[in-house]
């Protein structure tokens, strides 16, 4: 199997417990390069924990994670270079401008200042605000800049933890477009969300977690109403979205 054929994310028997409280239970998951996967589940189902385990912010209690063939956490530095993360928190400095923020993170990823900052700002539609201080940004602009930060080092995998939190309709639509563009560019996207409608529309594969285990994993296209029914069935949760 060549590197390109090999799954980008390979997870085997992954468990994570916090003070003996299991958050992820013996989870097996394989994600191919270029997949757009939506991770659904009620609060406390283990979505955020799973993303933090994949990017190395949390360490597994047991089990194995391989990203692009590299073992986590043993080869964490190699894995980190391949991952971009967007969460509901901006992960940006309020007192720096958009450009200064990206330049700082560019240095942390040892990137050359080769015009990529200008290109990525153009891509997320923030070129005109490149020299504006981030604390003056709206929530939607912050999230766009957050995506620019996550994509700056051209990661293979884009992890997104509730990226739509706090966004209005227009900002959410802009984020939809950016995600679709990132998917078209070949990034593998793993997005934890509560928004079933968006998951049904954008993602090509839906995984539902409940109590730290995968209870649904399907690549077949589902309408929102169908997904909502399935979600309620496998999680026991009521949902209207």
């Amino acid at each position: 199997m060549t590197d390109q054929e090999r799954p980008i994310i390979e997870i085997e028997a992954l468990s994570k417990a916090f003070s003996y409280m299991p958050a992820v239970r013996k989870l097996d998951l394989t994600i191919q390069r270029g997949e757009f996967v939506a991770l659904l589940g009620p609060n406390g189902s283990g979505k955020s924990t799973l993303l933090k385990l994949i990017c190395g912010l949390n360490k597994p209690t047991t089990g194995q994670i391989r990203i692009g063939g590299w073992d986590m956490p043993a080869e964490a530095q190699a894995v980190r270079a391949q991952i971009g993360m967007v969460s509901h928190k901006a992960l940006l400095y309020d007192n720096l401008t958009a450009r200064e923020n990206l330049a700082f993170f560019g240095k942390l990823y040892n990137l050359a200042d080769d015009g990529r900052i200008e290109r990525i700002l153009e891509k997320v539609g923030l070129s005109k605000r490149a020299h504006s201080v981030v604390r003056t940004f709206s929530r939607g602009m912050l999230q766009r800049l957050s995506i620019a930060r996550a994509l700056l080092h051209e990661p293979h995998v884009l992890l997104m933890d509730e990226p739509y939190t706090g966004l209005d309709q227009d900002a959410a639509a802009v984020l939809d477009d950016l995600l679709s563009a990132a998917y078209s560019d070949g990034h593998t996207i793993l997005m934890a969300t509560h928004q079933l409608e968006r998951a049904a529309r954008l993602a090509k594969r839906i995984i539902i977690l409940s109590r730290g285990s995968i209870v649904h994993d399907s690549t077949s296209k589902m309408e929102t109403i169908e997904l909502a029914a399935r979600y309620a069935e496998v999680t026991g949760a009521a949902t209207a979205r």
């Binding site: 360490k59 980190r80 993360m85 940006l92 309020d94 720096l96 700082f104 240095k107």
Partner: protein, 225 residues
């Protein structure tokens, strides 16, 4: 694949200085606190010359330590507020480089306060504190306070009572530094023979090195899970 240590360190220092130049909230708070503290002590301790020479180094170091605590709390809160520490931890960087970068920024802010305090206290207390040996002791003492403070602030910033917790955790740890710094400064400004106080700058240097190694090794465990 790992970003070079020095590059990460310089990026963090540069980022902290730039953010501070723009907001001026950290140094301004520290300076104002230091100024008020020195003035309050000067009114509270209406001392004769001899008693003043005994007490002034204590005033200097209490002010530096508490002003540093104010700065450290703010500096680490900036990393926590929008999840910025997480963003740094996601990058392929040595955790030690993050520690040294944050330490350098915190030290620069604290030493700036120390350097303003020395001429100010010389005037207010009518004692010459602007000697090269006092500067060396202030440099070494402030460095030690910044080393331990950077690690402990990274720990306490994750708790709810972080503002109150940092001084409670930090003061016992900096006690050896504080004792050596006060003894050394008192000996120098009282113009005692060098043999009476030369041990203290050496003690400060040794304690700084020990704390630096311990904090550098512990930082990854503190910021990572």
């Amino acid at each position: 694949m790992k970003t070079p240590f020095f590059k990460v360190m310089m990026a963090i220092i540069h980022k902290d200085l730039r953010a501070e130049l723009r907001s001026r909230e950290l140094v301004a708070t520290m300076m104002l606190f230091a100024l008020l503290s020195v003035l309050v002590f000067s009114f509270a301790l209406e001392l004769d010359k001899v008693a003043r020479e005994e007490a002034v180094s204590g005033v200097l170091w209490v002010t530096i330590v508490f002003a540093s605590i104010l700065g450290l709390n703010r500096s680490m809160a900036m990393e926590r507020e929008n999840g910025n520490m997480e963003a740094m931890l996601l990058a392929p960087v040595d955790r030690g480089a993050i520690f040294v970068g944050k330490l350098a920024g915190n030290f620069l802010f604290a030493i700036a306060v120390g350097l303003v305090l020395l001429p100010l206290m010389s005037v207010i207390y009518n004692i010459n504190m602007l000697t090269s040996w006092v500067l060396i002791v202030v440099f070494l003492g402030t460095l030690g306070v910044s080393i331990t403070g950077t690690l402990l602030a990274a720990m306490t910033v994750q708790t709810r009572a972080r503002e109150a917790l940092l001084p409670i955790v930090m003061l016992p740890v900096v006690l050896p530094l504080l004792l050596a710094a006060v003894k050394g400064t008192t000996g120098i400004i009282n113009e005692l023979p060098i043999t009476d106080w030369q041990t203290w700058p050496r003690v400060l240097m040794v304690v700084d090195v020990i704390y630096l190694v311990l904090c550098l090794l512990s930082f990854a465990y503190v910021v990572e899970e």
